[in-house]
Symmetry: D2
């Protein structure tokens, strides 16, 4: 089709491909969610409806984008990990971040009424910002995920203690003051002594957050992407396998090695001797 004299302005569009051989994390964060949680009376410190909606939205995002190898969520944030060898959208940062963030937002809005049947969603509608972060080594990616899970733990222990104090009659300011400078052990003790709560018995979804990934029977574990070169037919076949795979939603420790040892195919650790093992 004909082009106009103005088309030269395209040349201002920047090249924003992320560097090759880097794990790509797209993390999305709820925008203005403290306001939103007040508006819809989210239960403190954790609202099961809100968490289940986040996880349901993330599940659909993982289902539709097979290049996502694992996702981890807590509070109003979710991190989606793309394999270091992905060529999705030619690794263009803006395309990756906006595609995942809008897919998540659409699911969150459309599934709202299922999780909050009594509270119609009104404007301003929930939205999520997003960004890409590159991790050049598998170890760094795992530390990234550990960071988010450690953060979930730290925040949840604080919030659980804080809201028990408040629900027990303490003012917000007094509760904040009481917790200032306390260590984990102190909060555990407050919970146990004052409220009879053993923090370790709190639901794992609160303490650990949520991890989502494709699960395979041992006999059908995925052909590792690194086993280059792959033909288009192989890639398409692999893609279909992923689309059919069971997606698992779990609340468990991803900091320690056991999760990764059990699911070594997720980050392709088994046979990928060519590029990233040193």
């Amino acid at each position: 089709m004909a082009n106009s004299e103005y088309e030269y302005v395209r040349r201002f569009e920047p090249a924003d491909a992320l560097p090759l051989s880097n794990w790509i994390v797209v993390r999305i964060d709820g925008r203005g969610f403290s306001k939103l949680t007040r508006k819809y009376d989210f239960k403190k410190p954790n609202d099961d409806r809100g968490l289940s909606l986040m996880n349901a939205a993330a599940l659909e995002v993982c289902r539709s984008i097979v290049d996502i190898v694992i996702a981890y969520g807590q509070s109003d944030e979710y991190s989606f990990v793309l394999h270091e060898s992905t060529s999705l959208f030619d690794r263009r940062a803006a395309k990756l971040a906006t595609t995942i963030a809008t897919a998540f937002t659409a699911e969150y809005c459309m599934q709202w009424s299922t999780h909050f049947p009594d509270q119609p969603l009104t404007r301003p509608y929930p939205t999520f910002d997003g960004r890409c972060v590159c991790y050049p080594k598998r170890k760094l990616l795992r530390d990234y995920l550990s960071w988010r899970q450690a953060d979930a733990h730290i925040n949840n222990l604080y919030n659980t203690t804080f809201w028990n104090l408040v629900l027990g009659g303490m003012s917000l300011i007094d509760a904040e003051q009481k917790l200032k400078g306390t260590l984990s052990a102190d909060k555990n003790e407050i919970l146990f002594k004052q409220f009879g709560i053993n923090y370790n018995n709190e639901p794992e979804i609160y303490r650990k957050g949520t991890v989502i990934y494709r699960s395979y029977e041992a006999c059908e574990q995925p052909i590792l992407i690194e086993d280059m070169p792959q033909s288009k037919t192989q890639l398409e076949k692999e893609r279909k396998r992923k689309q059919k795979a069971t997606i698992v939603v779990e609340h468990r420790d991803i900091i320690s090695a056991s999760f990764w040892d059990e699911h070594s195919y997720i980050l392709g650790t088994a046979k990928c001797a060519t590029i990233d093992d040193e």
Copy 2:
């Protein structure tokens, strides 16, 4: 709150602030919309419900983000222009693109049933990718907008002719073949001679696309952002004025100078002698 040993991974997050003194365009594009328009039987070449939904979504985005000085949309795309002096989100590219793209997506999904009352929205839900493009001069920004409007014209003339041929009984392939290599004049003639259509009488929303901006009475035109320095009080006052301003949705020529002469405050041409006039 305490930090974990893993927090060092934050240092991998890139600085992505866009350069100062550049107009920022965030353009969003519908993902997989040819499939979506088939699924919901969009009328060809233009579907009024689809266009009105796009415009309604864009209107809300403009209403909620007062830093947007003008927006232009056509087909399944919309361009939102942020003033060259904006400090929204510290000009961070990922935050700007994802915030606007998710706000648009949320509105599009939530307003769907108003515009398509008979067709419930089902998965995969509509999503939009987005990107930031910087234009260092006002003239270049205007050329960008002219490019999109010229593109709307070129596509609509083609599509109008194409679909009239098809609705008139020609096969898709034959219609494509017939239009190959034709000029505007040829298409105008086909429309007029074969279908009695004077293209210039086609609705302006099809031929020109849609422009959205804040409208002010002459007496209350905005204080130009460039009149630096501004105090926080002034900025807040200006922000409130913008929130109260009438937002106009029009279908008209933005290539020729007249639109810009009439609304010189939109790109702040009137008094901004300090930085960008040369």
Copy 3:
């Protein structure tokens, strides 16, 4: 010629083209020059040999790279300005910075013995780091140059006073202490009252730094680059004109408008109505 299996690593080379329609400043700075000036006994506060060597090196850089429209130097730094429309090295940042920095370094080293005939240059040899900075508006570029010239003035007034105090017998620490918190007027007064020096009579090369540009007779002023489109023949002709033009080395005020009014062709202000005038 044949390629090896390893050639894929080229894909890791980043695209680093600077954005179009931006003035490009390549500023180079002497590395470790306080040590170097002590090693070769540079005269304080200004060493004429050192300044003339800097200027001689910059002159040759300007002569060999005709895309440089103006250069400004002071102390151990030089800023080279490339026209906003330059396509030199496809505007690649690393190529521009290293080419100019190495050309300057080569000249500085090779011309050393002319300016310091009694002091052979020994290792570590003088080197210069460099960087590209983009300025999207002519006004901003002028402010950049004003910044460097204002900096030259501020530093030279301080250094002149400081070293007169020291040469007058004051210790380095006492001189520093005496000048702490003083204004320009204070320093001017110290110079005048204690040393009979009228700062405004100090040599302009010390007070203003050095500006280098091509000079033309009125009748042969350059065809403005913005008068697009230009054929290859025209560009080549223009290039040859530049190579033949007289290059001027001056010590004068480039902050006020008069310099730019007199030499409007330098930044192409005269007729460039197409892109950057707003």
Copy 4:
């Protein structure tokens, strides 16, 4: 010291820190060296004076910048490798590229007369452009170095054959024509049959290029940088050890594993289990 009103222009300087945990290669290339080699009658296909000057310059660059763990050169190019954990100049790309490129240029110019005693260096002086490339894995870095050495081999085999044909009386065009489409085996055969040259007996400096690195006795091998955390005292001690270490200049195979097995400390493969081993 006081600042001027113009200082705001500093905010246009971009942040250009290279991503953490990536090997950084700074490759420099001679600018216009085909002209330069003709001007100074470089011997074809290899000029020993030119090669020894390149290597002498690179040696001094390695000596002065202890963060360089290995360098590889061939023809008019040199690649300097900075350890993936380097914090030199806060990993700023422009600073790294210009510092290494100007240091190399200064050495090349200043040592010229030693290597070309009969040919005074005249303007235009030799210069080198440079760029930074990041490699996120050790394996990729080794492939980069293999790429350059394979390139040296391919070019040298071609050039050796080409220039023997020319020196044997063939025209440049005929020689080029004769070699078009030939494989390595063909060129080896031409050399052997027509000129009695066994390519494998050619000097290694021509066939393999040059590798430069610090050599240690087994008992004094460097403390690996990855053994974090290191105190400032340790880093300073390590730095001094490097400054005292013998620097080796060799012409040998760095594609096969044996070089790296023998010198595992160069890329810190021995104990760096913390970050990059997976």
